[in-house]
């Protein structure tokens, strides 16, 4: 196993508000890391600093040998290798499903139009939406949108995938389809960092679960350690709340 991602002493502040207070984290190749924690604890912020959608205030983030806090690093090149899936899908509203997926490969000269089209159709097939290639984004359901968003994030053949609460905005009956796609990805050996409240998914798929609260990693371990033998009182408290709804 080799290290894909290494975060050291990561601090992020917005004005006076210190959101991340010195995070240390390593993610190995093929590892699936699930981040849990109460809302407002800094999970999204942590995830978004990993591909520099938020610039870190201090600390270092090294991905595949590139220090992304270093201004000399070509962040666009690094991002090509990190797929990101958002809570609100963020499909491009001015394009069809196919165009959404083909945009990055064609714009960034990874492949020509025909190759990109072939690849897009393949990706749509893996997320179970092959017939939606020409569909308008507006005609999709939330679950379909999120699966297209995953296909789009995969189009640049990334080594790492980041998921920020990918099912939180979905109607309950759609959640299963999206989680299914993510499980398949995990089985194929994709390195994944997933922020989610789906504890079932975490138990089944995660190699490691990280509990973030108040800008710090309070506890981490295997799913059994975290869910069956939580040590930190805050984690116990948190699990009580989410598991007994």
């Amino acid at each position: 196993m080799s290290t894909r991602l290494k975060v050291t002493d990561l601090v992020k502040t917005y004005g006076d508000n210190e959101v991340l207070k010195g995070i240390n984290l390593e993610v190995q190749n093929n590892e699936v890391v699930v981040i849990i924690g109460p809302s407002g604890s800094g999970k999204s912020t942590l995830l978004r600093t990993l591909n520099k959608l938020e610039a870190p205030t201090s600390g270092s983030i090294v991905i595949d040998g590139y220090d992304i806090a270093d201004p000399k690093t070509d962040i666009n090149k690094v991002r090509e290798n990190i797929g990101m899936v958002f809570q609100h899908f963020n499909l491009f509203n001015n394009m069809t499903v196919g165009e959404n997926i083909m945009l990055a490969p064609t714009e960034l000269k990874k492949s020509d139009k025909t190759a990109a089209e072939k690849q897009a159709k393949q990706l749509l097939a893996t997320v179970g939406l092959e017939e939606k290639f020409d569909a308008r984004v507006q005609s999709l359901s939330g679950g379909q949108e999120q699966r297209v968003a995953i296909a789009r994030a995969l189009a640049m053949n990334p080594d790492i995938m980041l998921f920020d609460e990918p099912t939180s905005a979905l109607d309950p009956e759609m959640v299963g389809d999206v989680l299914e796609v993510m499980k398949t990805l995990a089985k194929q050996g994709m390195t994944m960092v997933v922020v989610t409240h789906e504890m079932g998914f975490a138990k089944e798929v995660a190699d490691r679960v990280i509990f973030v609260d108040d800008g710090n990693i309070q506890e981490q371990g295997t799913p059994e350690e975290i869910f069956d033998h939580p040590k930190h009182p805050r984690l116990q408290d948190f699990l009580n709340k989410v598991l007994n709804v």
Binding site: F86, L91, N93, M156
Partner: protein, 481 residues
């Protein structure tokens, strides 16, 4: 032998004589300078456009006759009294002849010629008015035209007689105000008033000329002294040879012929027919101004708008500042600043049309920048984040994802702005651009048919705006935006 000598000498003499004559007539022609002279849009009988749209009147005939007499060329710029005066101060124009009274105040900034006309201020009232004396004006309104000696006179006595002064920018509006009864009286130089009444203005003069003053031709103080000398010399020549008398009598003498306009067809269609070519060229100028300035304003506005959303603090600040300044300045002030202010700072003349385009580019462009910025900001930030997370650089993400969505939001604002631009071109009449509004002013100066002519002009604007709206709706539908 002797005879032969004579023949040779005569030939030589003739030859030299020819050479000299040729030189005499050729040299001055070559050296003929062209002076640009500003004048008022409408100040009959001193300056006004006749039916052929040529500027005539005492001032016009005089300056042309003097130019001919003194062998220089003149280019007349009927930019309006205030603009002409300011343009001479700023060096945009070489001189001004616009029934301008010689005053101590003005002599501080201008060098005046010898007086070429003596005038005095009279009071005129509506035909059916009972007012005959200044003392009857108590508590009433009095109309004057800006910068005239009539205005100075009114202001100097308004406290004594207890009336209120209302100021207008041209004579027709001032007369109109008295005829409609808004103002009780107006003060105007006697030749102007007399001529106006002869043209059918329904007013009567009720006082003797007061505050006699002299009109002079003016240049910027300390500049164009050669022109001033030529004017004085030419004026003296014309007075001596009787031409001066002929010119003034043509407009003021007992047998001053009525302008044929007053007997011509003053119905709507008559007015349109008579002024067809003037209206058409004013209309074309308005369209041309609109189209060119929309193009420049769009370029300027889109650039400044994009600067406002670019991830760079300095550019953001610059964008905000530019929008703040050019949206904050009244269009009229901006136009006068660019046309007369900039040349007095740089010493570089700017043609009125160019100044007009620059004015509209900045003003309309600032509005465009504001809604370009707003349109882009209205696109969900998640769209930009998704594009950037795929590795697309900022510019590419902007072009492929954000702008296409932002433009859809901006289209109605663009159409609105085009219509506003068309309307705003009318303000450029202040710097003398012969567009539709200025054309209207000039036609009215001649025929004093303010209501009908403004109706015609208003209809033309409405028709163009309607067509423009239809066109843009059609384009909008066609492009499925």
């Amino acid at each position: 032998m002797k005879r032969k000598m004579w023949a040779v000498l005569t030939t030589l003499a003739v030859f030299f004589a020819c050479l000299v004559t040729f030189n005499l007539s050729a040299t001055p022609a070559k050296a003929e300078t062209t002076y640009t002279i500003g004048t008022d849009v409408t100040f009959p009988p001193f300056e006004f456009a006749n039916k052929q749209n040529k500027y005539v009147g005492i001032d016009m005939d005089l300056i042309r006759a003097i130019a001919k007499n003194q062998r220089f060329k003149v280019k007349i710029k009927p930019v309006g009294f205030n603009a002409a005066v300011q343009s001479v101060q700023s060096g945009q124009l070489d001189g001004v002849i616009a029934g301008m009274s010689i005053t101590k105040e003005r002599e501080a900034t201008f060098d005046f010629s010898k007086p070429y006309f003596t005038s005095g201020v009279v009071m005129a009232v509506a035909k059916n008015s009972k007012i005959t004396k200044l003392s009857q004006l108590k508590g009433k309104k009095v109309a004057v035209k800006t910068g005239t000696s009539g205005a100075d006179y009114a202001n100097s006595i308004k406290n004594k007689y207890g009336f209120k002064v209302v100021t207008f920018d041209d004579s027709n509006n001032m007369y109109e105000d008295v005829m409609t009864g808004n103002s009780a009286a107006c003060f105007e130089d006697s030749p102007v008033m007399r001529y106006g009444i002869k043209q059918g203005t329904k007013l009567k003069i009720v006082t003797k000329p007061a505050e006699n003053g002299s009109y002079g031709f003016a240049v910027e103080k300390g500049h164009n002294q050669k022109l001033l000398k030529s004017f004085n010399k030419g004026l003296a020549n014309l007075k001596a040879n009787g031409q001066y008398k002929k010119i003034t009598e043509k407009y003021l003498g007992k047998d001053a012929s009525k302008d044929t306009d007053s007997t011509s067809d003053n119905s709507f269609f008559g007015l349109i027919k008579q002024n067809k070519s003037a209206l058409w060229s004013g209309f074309k100028e308005t369209l041309w101004l609109t189209v060119v300035s929309i193009i420049f304003a769009t370029i300027f506005g889109v650039l400044v708008g994009l600067m406002g959303v670019f991830p760079n603090k300095f550019l953001n600040g610059l964008s905000t500042t530019l929008i703040y300044i050019f949206r904050g300045l009244p269009l009229l002030v901006l136009a006068l600043f660019i046309y007369t202010g900039i040349p007095s700072l740089t010493g570089q003349k700017i043609p009125a049309f160019v100044a007009g385009i620059i004015t509209l580019m900045f003003n309309e462009g600032a509005y465009i920048a504001a809604f370009v910025k707003g349109g882009i900001n209205a696109v969900d930030t998640g769209q930009m984040e998704a594009a950037r997370s795929l590795g697309l650089p900022f510019g590419r993400a902007m072009r492929k994802v954000i702008l296409p969505q932002g433009i859809r939001i901006m289209v109605p604002s663009f159409i609105n702005q085009f219509i506003i631009t068309l309307k705003d071109t009318s303000i450029l009449s202040i710097i003398g651009i012969l567009e539709l509004t200025q054309t209207g002013k000039i036609i009215i100066a001649r025929n004093l048919q303010g209501f009908k002519v403004w109706t015609i002009i208003a209809i033309i604007y409405l028709v163009v705006i309607t067509l423009l709206t239809w066109l843009s709706n059609w384009v909008q539908k066609r492009s499925k935006l």
